[in-house]
Amino acid sequence: MDKYNFPILTKIIIKNFSIYKKTNLITVNIKDGVFCLAGANGLGKSTFINIVNYGLTGIVRRPEAEFSQDNSIPKFYSRSKSFAVKYFDRRIDENLRDIASISIELTCGGKIFYIERNFFEPDALSKLEIYEDGINIIEDEQDLTPSDFDFIYKQEITKSIGLQDFDQFVFIQIFVLTFDESHQLLFWDNSLMERVLYLFFNLDPSKAKLADQLRKDVSTFESNMRNLQWDATQKQKELTSLINQLELSTNNTQLVDEEIINQYNDLTSALSDGLENIQKIESDVKECDLLLADFSLKLSSAKFEYDSLFSSSFNRDVSLEKDPAILSLLASIQSDVCGGKDPAHHFEQLKKLIWETKCPGNKIANDESSVKKLQELDEIIFRFKGDQDKIQERKLRLIKEYDNLRNVANEITSEIDEIEKNNENFRLNLYRPSDKQGLASFVNDIKIQIGQLLNYKKEESKKRDEKRLELKNLERELSSQYLTAEEFFMPIFTEYARSFLGLDINIFLQTYAKGATLVLEINDTERREKHQLSESQRYFIDIALRMALIQHSSLHANILIDTPEGSLDIAYESRAGKMFADFTKKGFNLIITANINSSMLLLQLAEQCKAAFMQLERMTEWTTLSEVQQQEQAIIEKAFVAIEKKLG
């Protein structure tokens, strides 16, 4: 059975992250064992976990979004992508946006990865190096764009871990290798647990993907079946009503006046023409909207070009020490110098900028060409505005026409309704006795339509059953894989869980209508409902499950845990510390954030791991404390000293 090679983080560098006020360069070397970032509330501990995950995956999990809302790994990944930019927006100052980044050094599957990601470009890597046997395997590096780096990283890391798709890695990193402040639990969330089971017990990642696809297909076919059944029922109702009217009409010889029928036919024909015109106008209005959107885009890009050119030509006369372009270059040089990089590559650009904008001979020529270009852009903007106004006028006229036509159509519909209401069995009268043949054929047509709809439904039902069967087979395969693995997996989990809860714990796989899940049993009683365990019991049982899953499926891994002691009953603090220590002793690494208080959790962890296997990083080295926290500084210091004493 192949195991996953999860990434092992060895170095984290955070640059220019504004909420860490004390320094613009944070370098953390992660050794084997526990890395604990300790500090008071509100200093950015949870943010640190999100930064690391962002560096690895390019996403930050939306805190309010539960996985079951997406219910699909690819959908979760694609929907989470846009959140990172919003998340970092208020945590990084405007002037640092371009130079704030996260770099991670990690080993994975025998390779060493160096990655650097800007906080506002989730789909790009500003740096990528991958070493295998000491050689960088990235070829023609200078020809690659940041997006290319990101693409290569996704491919290589996925392959190195042993997964099929990068989104599966993102899922595992966020939901299994991380226990963050949102506390989304695997137990008690069937949609999440099922994906985990496929990824960790089938150990062929393509099966997890296939199961997702099959589930989506089954749901599509079921939805089609429901729609077809509804259509068939409507048709059946229409048919029944027609047959009833036919029966009634045998006892009712009173027919509607020829004149009224003619009037009715005229009205329906006028209504049909009116509706056709309405449709035409609707499509014309849509076309106008499209053109307006197109012009608005063109206008805004021309205006942007105009403004940029105006601004840059305007700055040309500004003295050297006040020129924003030169100041921005100097800031980049400063960043390189402070970051230990060679700034020489900026010098050529600086020389060019001074030559083009500050040397008198060039300035006059540049001024003339800028004015000419500005005039051209001004003309283009004017033309676009004119065209846009014309389309706007056309749209307004069309909307007016549409309103008129709609009013006329409503009036005609009321007249038709009136005629139908005032003349019983009117519809039937449309088929005069002489037209019995027509009526029979009409009834027959409806029957054929109903038959067709039911046939389509049957076909969809057959397809659904086929997919269901495939899914069932996959689930059976999963059950059998789980049972094989249970022998090894169960003892790992029960050991962690028992060491924390001190009770006999059992878990078993249960299949249900929509899939499979793991059910927890404590002292022979099923705990399916959340309220059957306290909040902290739930959190730590879930962490125990993650640890067991990781230990079962890999030889090494990092797990990220955000302030676990927050809700912990005092009686369990020491036990939780021991559970974490046991995990690290098996060769797994723990990156943990913690509130610095008198919690036994940290003390126990420090006692068990000692300085050789536990690093304690004080957040006070990164950022400043609030006034209230400063007042409590003595107590905080005492807590630090106690932990450091245990570390030895």
């Binding site: 940029s308 601004s311 004017f382």
Partner: protein, 201 residues
Amino acid sequence: MIQSEAVFDTLFLGSQLQNRLSDFSNYELQIFAYLSCLLSLYDGEPVSFWGYSFIKNDLGSPYSREINESIEALIAKREIIKSDGDFLRITDYGLSELEVYSSFRSNVSRLKFLQAACESINLISYGQVKESISQEPILKSAGLQEQRRLLIDIDSPAFSILYDQFEMLKVALENKFSNLVMPAVIWLKYLGDKNLGKYDS
């Protein structure tokens, strides 16, 4: 980024004000830029037309960051010089640049509002303009509030009052005037008189 509309307005209003008052201050320029913006609204232009925004400064007068930045940038380019303390003058170089910018179509569409605002001081004094502007509904309402907010905000109640005043003015003038100078002066006089309690009865 320097705002092209604000640069043009600064040069144009500055040149007009110095023709009439020999020089001008940042504060005066801001008042006439704001008045011009209100006239564009009177003329039916949308809020987005003006291209830059205003807030209330500590003295309760209109203030635009873009105008302020334009003045600074034009001083750095020597298109504006400081003449006497805080007073400013457009240089010959600035006037020649204004001539170039005046030919741009995007600027031509603003000229009638800027011109009308400046020409109002041919008919009423600068002091009256300043006093009346402080009484227009938006600035008056902003003066009562501590919080800073954008002055031209279509969601604010004061904005509706301003539009009501404009509508009344249009009805009263029955489209008799082809340019905006007379409507501007009549409205400013109305605001001044209202402040003096002439309409209280």
